[in-house]
Symmetry: C2
Subunit: 170 residues, 2 copies
């Protein structure tokens, strides 16, 4: 089964992201707005139990993660994705690295924490959206105290399998 | 904020439900297939923390819940909802009652555990779907070991706030 790991920001930031995603993100209906910690990885039922236990241990090493949005950005020219950039911080970076090492997946890209607003945009759409959004001020701060392990259904949507609360060790 | 409590059945049952929901359930994109334990209830940030702690206690009283599907059914004439009927069992009933009492919401309806396949159907659609599905055999058994607390976004979609694993007490 295909799994992924993500942080869901608070309702306010999710509602903001969805106001753009509705029009600009073909994956709008498949998953709520999120910060990806690990993209897709495969695991069978036994493996995921072991991974799940290890993730709970990882979660216990952190108390909270600052989520700070200052601006929008784009992955162009790599791809036409426009996103809210989450300010990198050592906690978030360490959490990501520890999770990656725990699962044993390899970094394909550098970790750029973000909440997608639009993707699979044509060049014209990308230009329009980016031009209008870069003039706007985005300023938002919150604290995450949990992350989630999700799995993918056949229709491409994601269901939460487990929540890991930071600072808890069962 | 609006919260709800649900069990997500395994991927196989979710995929089956989605194959009908895609066409017959206008809420298809808003939440994965689920068994509702508590419909919408309101709570503020402080309240939900207390509720969350209490739900973890409730979860610790159970080890697993049998999820057994034998047939489809309908809520007609109350409303045109067609669903996979989950066989009632004392664990599931007790879990539901304990959660309801913990949160302090009142029963509006008797608890009929189910996974919705179609809703808001016209009478014709309802008749068509029900006639074709009642001829099919549905037979599925699995064991749930967790339930989820979710909150609603402005667009009507639901995000998981927390997972409660049965048999665990933190």
């Amino acid at each position: 089964m295909k799994y992924g790991i993500a942080i869901f920001p608070g309702k306010e930031l999710q509602d903001l992201a969805n106001s753009y995603r509705k029009r600009y993100d073909p994956k709008y209906a498949l998953i709520p707005p999120h910060i990806t910690l690990v993209g897709e990885f495969n695991a069978d039922n036994d493996e995921i139990k072991a991974i799940s236990d290890k993730l709970q241990k990882v979660a216990s090493h952190y108390h909270s993660i600052a989520i700070k949005v200052l601006k929008i950005s784009t992955f162009q020219p790599v791809n036409n994705v426009i996103y809210l950039k989450i300010e990198q911080n050592s906690n978030l970076e360490d959490l990501h690295t520890e999770i990656i090492n725990t699962i044993g997946v390899t970094h394909e890209h550098p970790f750029i924490p973000h909440v997608t607003l639009g993707q699979q945009l044509s060049n014209d759409e990308h230009l329009d959206l980016y031009s209008s959004l870069r003039m706007r001020t985005f300023s938002h701060e919150e604290t995450a105290d949990r992350f989630h392990l999700l799995y993918e259904l056949e229709n491409g949507s994601w269901t939460v399998f487990e929540t890991f609360r930071l600072g808890k060790d069962e």
